[in-house]
Amino acid sequence: MADKRMTEDEAIATLADGMTIGIGGWGSRRKPMSLVRALLRSSLTDLTIVSYGGPDVGLLCAAGKVRRLVYGFVSLDSIALEPHFRLARQNGTIPEVVEYDEGMLQWGLYAAALRLPFLPTRAGLGSDVVTNSPFLRTVTSPYADGEELLAVPALTLDASFVHLNRSDARGNAQFLGPDLYFDDLFLNATAPGRRFLSVEQIVPTDELLRNGTFHTMKINRSMVDGVIEAPNGAHFTNCQPDYERDESFQKEYAEAAKDPATWQTFVDTYLSGSEADYQKAVAAR
């Protein structure tokens, strides 16, 4: 029986420059932030990032790691606009930008998960999504209706990061909050090898059902290659019911982004050491 436990840095060590990485969660909710922080510590570059974006996207943009960004939105939820993402867009520092409708992003991941080249939809047609991503193609229904639909291409990932509440050491995982978001699709859109799951706590398999009903067990071990125990690993995004978003820290993050000097101080204070150093600095606030 495979024990898939590893550290964030061991997971990141399997990646290479130029890879396509999908990041689960939604906005500033249940983001695999300890894995994102490990990615920030690495020398990896030229990455394609696929995300319902929050501070994951902001931090990776600020660190200059993103060559191509695929997103439906980028927001901090309680702070509507992500400051680093805005700066990167306004300064033109992301070489390639793919802005999708939220449902199109789901469809691209789902197509990859089902190993289909595309899935059809109406979402996006007529909007500037198709103008701004001229690689997009339409497909004509082969049936009597003959309708022209948008063919969302599969968003196949080289690696994926998700953060859940509990799992066992083999990667059977459980979400205890109100929404799985699209975490299962991020994992399934990734070829076996680099599907990384961080959790608040690793527990014995038979403990999973003591925490919640079987409906919470949407991730099974065939979908996961590496399990990282990361208590408070989604900080400063939320991880309900374990913790809410750290709103005061998020405010500090957003304020610091306004000026290069204050941002450097933020990086020095929180992001220049290990994950343990980060958690210590957060606790010392």
């Binding site: 939105f73 805005r86 047609l125 999504v129």
Partner: protein, 251 residues
């Protein structure tokens, strides 16, 4: 009841956009749209489903920000997408820009390649507008918001929908635009935006001045209705006791 505020008039006007919708998801982005959906459900449109803004349908008349929920259903984002692609939803979104045919922009200001101001991205606006009824609430109508041409079409308007075939033409509906000045609809032969009513105390010239395109103006422009005493009571005492409705509007 007296001293009716602009916020209360706007909430009531948003609520009116849901009249006749029946048993669908009434979804509001932002305080006034959310209050509008809840007010409609609490008064004249009782079959609507309203959410807590997170992942649950709530059966009770929940105050904005309230946590004492009577949950009647689970609506995580994936189910929201299923519901909206299935057409069982009417959303009231915001708009950073809107044009005469109801094309809406929430993505960015300036050229998309290198925006002057990056906003949210298109979010769900393309899928919402092509799949089900959409209305907009704009708390600060100016000629820079009501524009000739939006910088990035996020939600699609009538001119774009008309080019997309029969299915889209049949299902696309931008029902109304509610602003701090007036209510607009698209009930014109070519679906150009029309002044449906002007809020009490607002002159029509203020409405046309705060708009870069030519509005269709009927011979008789009605005044936006005031909330009834019963609606005001629900709004003030139950749905929004902290008066958050007035904070979304210019002072």
């Amino acid at each position: 009841m007296s001293d009716i505020t602009l916020g209360e008039i706007c909430v009531t006007a948003v609520a009116e956009t849901f009249r006749g919708d029946g048993e669908i998801f009434a979804s509001g982005m932002g305080t006034i749209p959310m209050l509008g959906a809840r007010l409609a459900r609490a008064t004249f449109e009782p079959d609507l489903l309203v959410s807590d803004g997170e992942a649950f349908f709530v059966a009770n008349d929940l105050p904005v920000g309230g946590t004492d929920k009577e949950i009647e259903g689970w609506i995580p984002f994936r189910t929201v997408f299923d519901t909206l692609w299935g057409g069982r939803r009417h959303v009231v979104m915001g708009a950073s820009q809107i044009d005469a045919y109801g094309n809406q922009n929430i993505a960015n200001i300036g050229p998309w390649e290198k925006p002057k101001s990056q906003l949210l991205g298109v979010r769900g606006a393309p899928g919402n507008t092509i799949n089900h009824t959409t209305s907009y609430f704009i708390g600060n109508q100016t000629s820079r918001v009501f524009v000739d041409r939006v910088d990035t079409v996020s939600g699609i308007g009538y001119d774009r929908a008309a080019q997309l075939g029969d299915w889209v033409r049949t299902h696309h509906e931008i029902r109304r635009v509610v602003t701090n000045l007036a209510v607009f609809d698209f009930d014109t032969p070519d679906h150009r935006m029309r002044v449906a009513s002007v809020h009490p105390g607002v002159d029509l010239s203020e409405v046309t001045a705060a708009c870069s395109f030519e509005l269709v103006v009927p011979d008789e422009v009605p005044t936006t209705r005031l909330p009834t005493d019963a609606e005001l009571a629900v709004l003030r005492e139950i749905l929004d006791p902290r008066s958050l409705r007035d904070r979304e509007l210019p002072a």
